[in-house]
Amino acid sequence: MYQHLIFVYSAYCFTFCVLLVFGLNSILVFIKANKNIDNFDVESDNINT
């Protein structure tokens, strides 16, 4: 039975890697979007920057 543990660990590793990558990516994009809003100045001429 214990030789099957490799399947258990593979399933858990895959699941939590996917959750972690998705979660971190979402948080990073969220922080970046917040920064973009905070730094945006409507009056300035920064259309192409």
Binding site: F7, V8, F14, V18, S26, F30, N36, V42
Partner: protein, 244 residues
């Protein structure tokens, strides 16, 4: 209920609501997942037939439930979007699709990993596996379709129509194991005459399911805020262009 939807229809109010709620949701998610992991890996018995491989159930089944719950919530949001033109429904449906696709992928891959030692094969084209694979393709189609239009409104409308068509797949997934002879086992938790698994296995399953549910809720709020910020930035650019 209607008052809550009307209240949250305003993007600024929704942003304040999401900003206050998501940190707590993330903490609850982590608590559920860590306790669920401890129960699932160390404090639940092996199955008398499958042995240790039964532990895959604690990630596979909640992920499969979430794949369907997310799609069901997208269906409700699509109705809100098409019937009442609720602006937030478009954003929530758009942000739900990648999360739903991710849970479907987890269910498919962990199911395949579970299938090899249990059935002796990674994959079979039986009714349950095929219908879940179709759900994954519908999610991917929704993600691409919504983003294919330059006009966000048209993209949301096309996505909502696709979601409503795809909703026919949900009962097929649920009842596929009853309607056809499949290699996949029939339902053992959500069924009319009550669950048929032992409480020692039910506890980690429910804990992980709540963990995944709070994952969905937390990242839906985070991604919806990101989407609102992108839309606000787009409007600011247009305002700037008009000023210059």
């Amino acid at each position: 209920m209607n008052n809550i939807f009307n209240f949250l229809a305003n993007p600024s109010r929704f942003r304040i609501f999401a900003k206050n709620i998501y940190p707590f949701s993330l903490i609850i998610m982590l608590i559920f997942i860590f306790i669920g992991l401890w129960f699932g890996l160390f404090n639940s018995p092996p199955d008398y037939q499958q042995g240790e491989t039964v532990r895959i159930m604690y990630v596979h089944v909640p992920a499969a439930w979430m794949a369907m719950i997310v799609y069901f919530s997208m269906t409700v949001m699509s109705i809100f979007s098409l019937v009442w033109r609720h602006p937030l429904a478009d954003i929530l449906a758009k942000c739900s699709a990648p999360i739903g696709a991710m849970f479907t992928l987890i269910a498919l891959v962990t199911g395949s990993i579970w299938g090899k030692p249990t059935w002796g094969t990674w994959w079979v084209w039986d009714a349950r596996l095929t219908s879940v694979f179709i759900l994954f393709l519908i999610y991917m189609g929704h993600i691409v379709l919504v983003r294919a239009f330059e006009d966000e409104y048209k993209g949301a409308r096309a996505g909502a129509i696709l979601t409503l068509f795809g909703a026919f797949n949900l009962p097929i997934i649920k009842f596929s194991v009853d309607w056809w002879n499949t290699l996949h086992q029939p339902a053992s938790v959500i069924k009319l005459n009550g669950p048929s698994i032992h409480n020692d296995m039910m506890v980690p399953l429910i804990l992980m399911a709540f963990g995944f549910l709070f994952f969905y809720f937390s990242f839906l709020l985070i991604n919806a805020q990101t989407e609102l910020n992108h839309r606000k930035l787009k409007k600011l650019f247009i305002k700037q262009l008009n000023l210059n």
